[in-house]
């Protein structure tokens, strides 16, 4: 392994590129997935019941994979921390799901969805994977319709579509504002059908707290039963992680409170490479923080920007109520800077500009961290009824949370973390660098590059779960001895269980003076400031100095009451925050090393004259996949070079 140390010795770079083989087939891109499927090994239907599969996470990716693998006849165990698989956070997605059906006759195609996704990802995704995603998108809609997902329809009885997130075609399918919920219930019902059939066993209220590997391959997990604290071992022939994203590292995000990184972080520490951890997405239209007590952030659909105008006062520190500020003293900053796109610039551009005006002291609301989203012009032009028709539910939700009426007072919005493009590195089969460990949905890094398009998260979760894993898992299992699932009693299992017990005992014994949440808030604020919407070398350096100290303080001074042998929500949180503290450091390191801007990763040192993210394709057209540095040694950076044979890199511009 070469040691090409950069400015500091915070990480090493590997010159061994054999570690990251994507396994993506050659040949015409449109044929790759079919060719690949044909070459895969198969397991005879009669033999499938002799293999055990573990699925961790029961959202769109995990639920769909478990149901489909159960249908095929494998023995599946599903684990989730919620009290039911129907509650996974996929449920909160509002807007819709993309599919290249071209039902609108507006020029959409698999190739166009592929093209848009590669470009939207700012040329940091793997072309073969993205093409496959676009290809299977059409099958997802068919599958969900057949399951009874009540997608919106027109009076003729056919499926309705809308344009979403600035797309030039109408390819988004939706079920009112509850698309994620309805898709998840479809997957959940398919899963419950397999529970009834006896192929799938669901273990709710189980936290995966360790991965078990035998001779380098994933062969099981250790869980903590969240009801009585029992630590249990589970063995299998293959393990799938579909545990979602790590946005809660920022404490405040649009994720569910329980969303966490523990499963993928434990796997990372056991040898799975972590790809592009600094690629996080920020959504511009969230309800601002109201005070110290804030526990999460609520997203409102970005469709609001179609009719709302975003502004702040021209003068810093202007404390007048919005209706007291005359037109001439308002700065409609997006319309001013981007005359052709105006308020509809992409998510990252809208978010960064909101931060910039707040940094100038022109933010609004009690905290100064907010900008106005003003509907008064639209109401005057279209009438309040029309606006109510379009956004009534959103206005009600806003009023419920803020006690302000957006029909008469401009909304206040501020950006918030809501998706992570980074995740465990996977090959074309969605297998991580640990053989037998597969990763699906938001938990992997694979399809969105440096930025995800709206309505594409649901598509990817279901593509992985319904259509990719059922093929690739079989191909892997065909290489494993049949009916030889290891018993969960060897040294690998007892060592993993002991590590879990030791960590629990240590956390409970500290009995310090600070709560878990206070550490989590401090971590989140530090990352938001230094590794959030905009990043620079000095800020990242500072974060990397402070994070080890915060982690040390956590392990010295955290207070977790109660015992391990009971329902102990404080202990659950403590284990998760301990992992977030380590992940936060890797995110900063990744952001520091990537001295370019791309997609959601904005390095202030790398921007065009008009302030857009400027990529450095010569030096950074690769996936940065990090190998965990065990003990005192630094993490090792491996690079998977990316080639763009079909979609040629261009510079974005919105002015």
């Amino acid at each position: 392994m070469g040691l090409l140390s950069p400015s500091r010795t915070r990480w090493r770079e590997s010159d061994d590129s054999s570690m990251l083989v994507s396994g993506a087939p050659d040949g015409p891109i449109a044929d790759r997935w079919d060719e690949h499927k044909f070459r895969m090994r198969l397991v005879n239907p009669a033999n499938r019941r002799r293999y055990r599969v573990i699925v961790v996470g029961a959202g769109l990716a995990g639920g769909a994979a478990a149901a489909s693998l159960g249908e095929l006849g494998y023995n599946v165990d599903v684990f989730c921390y919620q009290d039911s698989p129907r509650r996974a956070h996929s449920i909160a997605a509002q807007g819709g799901i993309n599919a290249a059906k071209n039902y609108r006759n507006d020029g959409d195609s698999v190739y166009r969805l592929f093209y848009d996704t590669v470009k939207g990802g700012d040329f940091r995704a793997r072309e073969s994977n993205v093409y496959r995603l676009a290809q299977v998108s059409v099958d997802i809609i068919d599958q969900c319709v057949a399951q009874g997902v009540p997608f919106a329809r027109e009076y003729g009885g056919l499926l309705d579509n809308r344009s979403f997130g600035g797309a030039q075609v109408s390819r988004t399918f939706y079920a009112r504002g509850q698309t994620g919920q309805q898709l998840l219930l479809g997957a959940y019902q398919a899963l419950q059908r397999q529970v009834q059939a006896g192929t799938v066993t669901v273990h709710p209220r189980h936290d995966m707290v360790e991965l078990v590997t035998i001779d380098g391959a994933a062969k099981g997990i250790v869980t903590r039963d969240m009801i009585d604290g029992t630590i249990e071992r589970w063995s299998a022939d293959v393990v799938i992680l579909a545990t979602g994203g790590y946005g809660n590292v920022f404490y405040l995000s649009t994720n569910a409170k329980g969303s966490n990184t523990t499963a993928i972080w434990r796997a990372h520490k056991k040898g799975a490479f972590f790809a592009n951890p600094c690629f996080t997405q920020i959504h511009p239209t969230c309800i601002p923080v109201s005070g110290e007590h804030q526990s999460k952030l609520t997203l409102m659909s970005e469709s609001l920007r179609n009719d709302g105008r975003i502004w702040v006062p021209k003068q810093a520190g202007d404390a007048r109520a919005p209706d007291q500020i005359p037109e001439a003293e308002r700065d409609y900053f997006l319309e001013r800077k981007y005359p052709s796109f105006g308020n509809l610039v992409p998510r990252d551009v809208a978010s960064r500009n909101a931060k910039e005006v707040c940094d100038q002291g022109r933010g609004v609301g009690p905290t100064g961290l907010g900008v106005y989203l003003d509907f008064s012009d639209a109401i005057q032009r279209l009438g309040a009824d029309r606006i109510k028709e379009r956004y009534g539910n959103l206005f009600d939700m806003y009023e419920r949370i803020t006690a302000e009426d957006p029909y008469t007072v401009p909304m206040r919005i501020f950006p918030a973390i809501h998706y992570t493009m980074g995740g465990l590195w996977v090959d074309y089969d969605l297998q991580s660098t640990i053989p037998g460990l597969f990763v699906a949905g938001e938990a992997n890094f694979s399809d969105h590059g440096a930025n995800r398009l709206g309505a594409s998260a649901l598509m990817q979760g279901l593509a992985d779960g319904y259509f990719v894993l059922p093929s690739t898992i079989g191909s892997y299992l065909a290489t494993q001895p049949m009916g030889k699932t290891p018993a969960p009693d060897g040294a690998a299992f007892s060592d993993a269980e002991k590590a879990v017990r030791d960590r629990v005992d240590t956390l409970l014994a500290i009995d310090g003076s600070r709560t878990v949440d206070s550490f989590h808030r401090e971590l989140g604020l530090l990352l938001w400031d230094r590794c959030g919407m905009a990043r620079n070398e000095a800020g990242l350096d500072e974060a990397l100095e402070r994070l080890p100290r915060l982690r040390e303080e956590f392990w010295r001074d955290v207070k977790v009451p109660g015992s391990g042998a009971m329902l102990n929500q404080g202990l659950e949180k403590a284990q998760r925050v301990a992992d977030f503290l380590e992940l936060g450091e890797l995110m900063c390191l990744d952001a520091l090393h990537r001295r370019e801007s791309c997609g959601g990763h904005f390095r202030e040192e790398s921007q065009t004259p008009d302030g857009e993210a400027q990529r450095d394709d010569e030096r950074f057209t690769y996936v940065g996949a990090w190998e965990h540095g065990a003990g005192p040694s630094e993490p090792v950076l491996h690079k998977e070079p990316l080639a763009f044979d079909y979609v040629h890199p261009t510079q974005r511009s919105y002015t």
Binding site: A64, S68, D83, S84, P85, R86, R87, H89, A92, D139, I141, D142, Q143, V145, A146, G148, P150, F151, R153, G156, L159, A175, Q178, Q181, Q189, A190, Q192, R193, V195, Q196, V202, P204, I227, A256, K257, S290, H293, S295, T298, L299, A319, A321, V364, P366, I401, A403, E404, V409, R412, Y466, F467, T515, D517, S518, K559, V560, P561, M566, L567, G570
Partner: protein, 259 residues
């Protein structure tokens, strides 16, 4: 704390009476806590977070309660507040209830869902696994992955899909059961049955599904529906009682056809 209009909203002092129960077997009791500094802008669960932070620092066991998305869609949160499932505001989960609904000096009673089929696990956390088992009994359309026709192959009248969506909005929180004097799960079961029975895709298994889900609902020990209507009034998604009528009609239909 001040709003956008600069108006100051004063902090409130509240008294909480909270159900504490160590585990399934240990008898529980109401315990009184003071919450001296509650902002009207807090959500109800954020208010409990603040109380818990103080309990933890005092070395006490924090109050356990279920919650996750905190935006009213996952169905995890499940508190009886002053005797109302999800609290006093209609069409609102308790995670979306804000403290401005209460007044300075109020005493608030907080209890878990009360139903024999939802045993208490700890404090305010109950076991709602019975609802998953009702769905497993037949709350699905049997469609193996990869087998369906094109999404537009079967037109569905818009009114039918709208009715399906109205019923499918159920978040499975169990408030209907908690609010019902009979602890009936009819609104929950009727929602899923109505969702699937409203669509052409749901027809082939309709009778079988109806009988299997209703039988499972009874086997779980939920009570019968006596048309009181508390379920629909408590439902955070305001699912109408029509779904129960639909369920009863479908039971009749299935029994008749089975003869």
């Amino acid at each position: 704390m001040s709003g956008a209009d600069g108006q100051v909203r004063a902090a409130m002092r509240l008294t909480l009476k909270v159900w504490r129960q160590a585990d399934r077997k240990t008898p529980g009791r109401m315990v009184t806590y003071e919450a001296p500094n509650v902002s009207p802008d807090m959500s109800f669960l954020e208010m409990l977070d603040v109380v818990n932070e103080d309990l933890i620092l005092g070395g006490d066991d924090p109050i356990a309660f279920d919650h996750d998305c905190r935006e009213g869609i996952c169905g995890s949160c499940d508190l009886m507040v002053n005797g109302y499932a999800h609290g006093p505001r209609r069409g609102t989960t308790v995670c979306q209830l804000h403290m401005r609904e209460f007044a300075d000096g109020d005493t608030i009673f907080i209890e878990p869902w009360r139903a024999g089929s939802f045993p208490v696990i700890k404090d305010l956390v109950v076991d709602r696994g019975a609802l998953d088992r009702i769905v497993a009994a037949g709350g699905f359309i049997s469609v193996p992955t990869g087998s369906p026709p094109d999404g537009n192959a079967i037109p569905v009248p818009k009114d039918d899909v709208d009715r399906a969506m109205d019923a499918a909005a159920c978040i499975g929180c169990g408030a209907c059961v908690a609010a019902c004097p009979n602890a009936s799960a009819s609104l929950f079961t009727g929602s899923k049955l109505t969702h699937l029975a409203s669509l052409p895709q749901g027809q082939p298994e309709r009778d079988r599904r109806t009988m299997a889900m209703v039988a499972q609902m009874d086997a779980e020990g939920f009570g019968s529906c006596t048309n009181i209507g508390e379920c629909s009034a408590a439902c955070p998604k305001e699912i109408p009682m029509d779904v129960i009528a639909q369920m009863n009609a479908d039971v009749r239909r299935a029994s008749r056809r089975a003869r």
